[in-house]
């Protein structure tokens, strides 16, 4: 595949005193994709984004957006990148329209473009009817939607969204995810989205990077990620076979000496550190067993989640 990296980091590192917030990050994000930067709170996601936006200086390493060095060409970058900070803020005593108009003017747009775009964007995020109300009266979800509109005022080629679903109710989350995938699929924008909520992001991301304690564990499409992050971990295959007899169990056990089998009625649970699905299917086929159900777990998102994200991330989210 011939793809150009629009965001690229090389050994990007940020230290706060002794504490390493981002550790030798090498990342490439390609044109037109939705990349999810996933990691528990405090993993260094926001720090990475701040370095990309030129809002904080990296301790070492470099980052490029569209070929522009983030520490030098900040203005060029800010013209093509729309950034929505987590907990995006507005001037509460101004209306939504006034807030968007201000952003438009800062981007040097002319009055007609600004007004047209405000109408179009308010329509798009479903705030047309409250556009003339002061933002102070808005709910969290409305502010977040206005944040998307605000980010789109400059018609950015690249969007960086920091925790866009934080603090939203389930309906708001779905809406937000809908916006994001629409921005990528319909508008063909490149999107970098950070989140600690793996399950939400798997719906919209083309590729994700798992970011733990300042280090990128793995990056790639979600389907292949489990193998890379959790290589060497034990796999569990749950299957439902008819009939279950001793022959079957001994055949499965014979695949490898590491394989353990438990049977309970028609349910069979196979545990192994190696990939044995193909072997099992072969046994079933050759010996005329009927397979009713088979699920392999241990290398998928749920497992990544429980291994790295559980605890802090979940608790924080429940509180909100």
């Amino acid at each position: 595949m011939d793809r150009t990296a629009v965001i690229k980091t090389e050994n990007l590192t940020k230290k706060y005193g002794e504490n390493i917030a981002v550790n030798n990050l090498n990342l490439e994000i390609y044109e037109g994709e939705v990349f999810g930067l996933l990691g528990p709170n405090g993993a260094g996601k926001t720090t990475t984004i701040l370095m990309l936006m030129g809002m904080t200086e990296p301790t070492s390493g470099t980052a490029y957006i569209n070929g522009n060095l983030t520490t030098k060409d900040t203005l060029k970058i800010k013209r093509i990148v729309g950034y929505m900070p987590d907990r995006v803020g507005f001037y509460d005593d101004m209306t939504a329209r006034e807030n968007l108009r201000f952003t438009g003017r800062l981007n040097g747009l002319d009055t007609k473009t600004i007004e047209d775009r405000i109408n179009e964007l308010l329509e798009r995020v479903g705030l047309s009817e409250v556009g003339d109300k002061k933002v102070g009266t808005y709910s969290r979800g409305m502010k977040q939607r206005l944040g998307i509109a605000d980010t789109l005022m400059k018609d950015p080629k690249i969007m960086i969204l920091d925790e866009p679903t934080q603090g939203l109710d389930p309906e708001g989350i779905n809406e937000m995810l809908g916006f994001i995938s629409d921005l990528a699929r319909t508008d063909k924008r490149t999107i970098l989205v950070s989140s600690h909520l793996l399950h939400q992001m798997q719906k919209i991301c083309d590729r994700v990077g798992i970011f733990i304690k300042g280090k990128l564990l793995a990056a790639g499409p979600i389907s292949t990620l489990g193998d890379r992050v959790l290589a060497g971990q034990e796999l569990t295959i749950e299957m439902n076979v008819s009939p279950v007899d001793d022959k079957l169990i001994s055949l499965v056990k014979a695949i490898d000496k590491e394989v353990r089998v438990d049977a309970d009625g028609e349910n069979v649970v196979v545990k192994s550190t190696k990939e044995v699905r193909k072997d099992i299917l072969k046994i079933l086929y050759e010996n005329n067993y009927e397979l009713l159900y088979l699920k392999q777990s241990g290398r998928d998102l749920d497992d990544i989640y429980s291994r790295y994200f559980a605890g802090e991330g979940v608790k924080k989210d429940e509180k909100q």
């Binding site: 809002m55 200086e57 203005l75 950034y83 995006v88 201000f102 800062l106 040097g108 605000d150």
Partner: protein, 314 residues
């Protein structure tokens, strides 16, 4: 691009300042105290003008205190800092707390446009306020005395108003600096007020204590020692911008004053009594002017440098 983004930010800050309740409160406070002082001075002076020195009667309006109400310059020296502080103490930290600063800085604007725009808008608001007050005072003077001010008087009033703006801008710069250093706007407001009270009230007391410790004055001490004590007290007082401002207003509004330092009889030999021309008065207050301008610039430079390298977290 640079100038246009500065203009957008400047306009917004100006509108914000003019619409804010706190500006209206401080404007009312300054206008009511200032105008009441002018009114009482004008009507008190009107009865006394025929037998006293009639020169520069317009200027006396600013410096005369009548009864229990202090003079206009005294009010300005006390309330000027408060005006500057009120406009700047939450300039940056409020944007940080509302989460608007990171959004602002994600736009294609040079970072310094934000802090420059805020400072320039603050100075503009102060100028509008001071000049309207000056115009109001002049009209009260004309009504009260029935004679227009001379050109010399007008120029002196103009320079005095400019220095008042500089004095307030100094405190604006200081408060903006505090708004960068303190995350909470309440803390920075408190720090500003503490510094203001210290410099306008306590610095004078402290200067006396220090001068007395260095050059103790007793009944046995010689004149030289007493003079050194007084001079040191004066120089220490001049650390405070309000002393500088007070001395400036004396030079400008009392043209006969040639020095605020100590004069011995020997210095006066051969001196001809009379008013100084405006240029000579300005020459006298030049060091004061430079000091105030320098303090303003240092405060602004410190906040500028700090702001340019600050990490902006939402």
């Amino acid at each position: 691009m640079k100038s246009s983004s500065l203009r957008v930010l400047y306009k917004k800050e100006l509108a914000d300042n003019l619409h804010s309740q706190r500006f209206i409160i401080i404007l009312l406070l300054v206008a009511i105290t200032g105008l009441s002082s002018i009114f009482t001075a004008a009507y008190g002076m009107r009865d006394a003008t025929d037998n006293s020195n009639n020169d520069f009667i317009f200027l006396q309006l600013f410096t005369t205190s009548s009864g229990s109400i202090p003079s206009f310059t005294a009010f300005m020296s006390f309330l000027g800092p408060l005006t500057g502080l009120a406009l700047g103490f939450d300039a940056i930290n409020n944007e940080v707390n509302r989460g608007t600063l990171s959004k602002l800085l994600a736009q294609p604007i040079p970072r310094d446009a934000v802090i420059n725009g805020k400072f320039l808008a603050g100075v503009s608001v102060l100028s509008i306020m001071v000049f309207s007050l000056g115009l109001a005072i002049s009209s009260i003077g004309i009504i009260a005395f029935g004679i227009p001010p001379t050109f010399e008087e007008l120029m002196r009033i103009f320079v005095f108003l400019l220095i008042t703006i500089l004095y307030m801008s100094l405190w604006l710069a200081v408060s903006q600096m505090f708004s960068l250093f303190f995350r909470q706007s309440a803390t920075s407001a408190l720090a500003c007020i503490a510094l203001w009270l210290f410099l306008t009230v306590f610095a004078e007391l402290l200067a006396g204590v220090i001068a007395d410790a260095v050059y103790p004055v007793s009944s046995y001490s010689v004149l030289d020692n007493a003079l050194k004590n007084a001079n040191m007290k004066l120089m220490l007082n001049r650390i405070s911008p309000s002393t500088l401002y007070n001395e400036c207003s004396i030079y400008l509004l009392k043209p006969t004053v040639r020095t605020t330092s100590f004069v011995t009889e020997r210095d006066l030999i051969g001196a001809v009594a009379g008013a100084l021309p405006l240029t000579q008065s300005i020459l006298l207050l030049w060091p004061h002017l430079i000091t105030m301008a320098a303090l303003t610039m240092i405060s602004f430079a410190v906040s500028y440098i700090n702001f340019m390298s600050k990490e902006i977290r939402a």
